[in-house]
Amino acid sequence: MLFEQVLQQIINGLMLGSIYISVAVAFTLAIGILNFLNFTIPALYMLAGMVGWSLSHYGLPFGLSGPIHWGLALVIGIICAILASLLVERFTYRYFKMKHGDATEHAIPLVSSLGFLLIFEYLILIAHGSDTRGFSTPFTNLDWKTAGFIISIPQLASLILSILIVAALSFLLSRTKVGRALRAIAENPDAATMMGIDVDRIVPIVFILIGFLCGISASIFAINYHEVSPYMGDHVGTKAIAAMVIGGLGSVWGAIAGGLIVGLSETLSIYFFGASSAQITVWSLLLILVVFKPTGLFGHNAIGKGKF
């Protein structure tokens, strides 16, 4: 009985981890390619969810339409996240490149991203208040009960989807021209410019990917948990950072492993020691890793060590 319960918890942990994966990948892309700890990511995530909810609940602003179908609403939410991400690119990363040549030496993009975090979060709070909102989709109770285990089908689907997205991303990075350009920028932005890569045109792609990943992940969250809130990004974002570090900064496959490990350690810690222990478990794990094996499981040695 206990064994079965623990096994169920392992399943739950993996499902929970799937929520963290896409966000962790978004973090890891920003830091791996641009050496930018992008704190706007939680806000982008929240933005996609809340915009999706708002559209499916109220419809377009100014009474332009009635409530929109939840699926379409989420797609628009994702687009909003991408646009917001591009806005961040315009005012943080690109601005720096123009002004200082190499943006990575400074803490400035990090600070700017914190500024944007406040901007997006409070825009939503102004518009919709601080309440958690129910997000209704047709999939309220789609559970697959097999051999005494419960597996939520939307969660399973999201796990598979997350892995597929990461696989596609990994393909993009390793096989395509854009991917090679991105890796060149990651290696050395100045050399990349000299090699004829148009950094100003390639870098926005990273931000589009970041917005897209946040949007997808927020949609998965909304469908799975039937709710969104202005604080959903903070809750997922901090865990996703932990997942990124565990996986190794800059490694997209590492982000998958990291996400699953964080999900697992969280659920098992909750199951055995109660909910309040999860915070200590996850962050201690991260601290130990950062101090003793800063490359994480799959990371490179060079990333993230540059001084601020």
Binding site: M1, Q5, Q8, Q9, N12, G13, M15, L16, I19, L125, G129, S130, D131, T132, R133, G134, S136, T140, N141, D143, K145, I150, S152, F221, Y225, H226, E227, S229, Y231, M232, D234, H235, V236, T267, L268, I270, Y271, G274, A275, S276, A278, Q279
Partner: protein
Amino acid sequence: MKKLKPIIWGVLALFLCVSGGIADTLKIGHIAGRTGWLKGPALPATVAVDMAVKEINAAGGVNGKMIEIIEFDSGSDPKQAALAARTLAQDHDVLAILGPFSSGEAQVAFNVAEREKIVMMSNASSAPGLTKDKEWAWRITEDEGKQFARLLKTFNEKDVARDSVDIVYVSDEAISAVVGTKLYPFLLKKFGIKHGEPVAITYKSFDLAPQIAPIVANNPDMVAVAGLPENASKTIRELKRQGYKGRMIGSQIFADPNILELFGDLAEGTTFMAGFHADSSSKAKAFNEKFLKETKAAGIKKLGAHHTDAQSYDAIHLFAKVMKEQNVSGTKSSLTADRLAIKEGLKTVKFSGILGDNLCFSGNDAELPGYVIQIKDQKWTLIASHAPDPC
């Protein structure tokens, strides 16, 4: 510089006119939560406060003077709540203060009230013992423990299946933690109901699968939840997902009319306590209808008045009544005396409002009625009413 002179004089004159006008009002401070993490529940309460003030003033005010609310937004931050208390008491010379909203803010702001010697009446904080050993700190809220005892009493009377209960509580939120780890276990034991070790969830957790699994395995008759509406919503969702068939119960922490929408069709059968029920009297019904209209006009979506809204509304009427009885003048010279008079007045006041009739304070906490509410067919249904305890 010459051009500026008339402007300066104009501003000064205007200022004098305005401050001359202020002297004729009775000022009540309001530490509101217009921003911050409790904006959701706290913002509608400001609408209720405005309603009460308008009504009182339309009826001629108090002793011929208008009531004036001086509002200070604390942003749900204890630091700002203390600043608010200090500012209202020292700079605005208010006679009494309504708020702050949450227990965390109240803990800090009550200290200021004690030092400044001004009545501060929290309209929502329900953590046990907050006003203990305090003279100037008051609350127009009902104790969570008392409300939950009333719920259990009703279960006894109606003989609802109640052999075993499991407890879920939010461990990083003050009231929920106390209620979940202390009050619920104590009361369940007192009523002879078996209960398991309380199960913690956190404010941040959104996936409750691991916590809920052992409960579903236990399959108790009822699951008692100590948490805000969103936590309760997550709990009930996960309970149902894992196939739990029993009933979710709670004291008044998640008794927000908006839970109908938040819980959706999973809410059916959920039974809990509320400090306010629109069908309890005609006055309450009228308030509820007007409140819904006003919140809608303010762009706030409410399905009904929360008891914190009703308490805020009644608190203003209560202040008005006490000020009338004590004949406070509101002038600067009698400020200390007025503040003292209000405090003394509260000790003996009998007050009827939308919360109930002939309400009074025992200690510094109001004795309020409780309503056992069950969600049936997506509606709040009154199961039983409990009269307030004697003072």
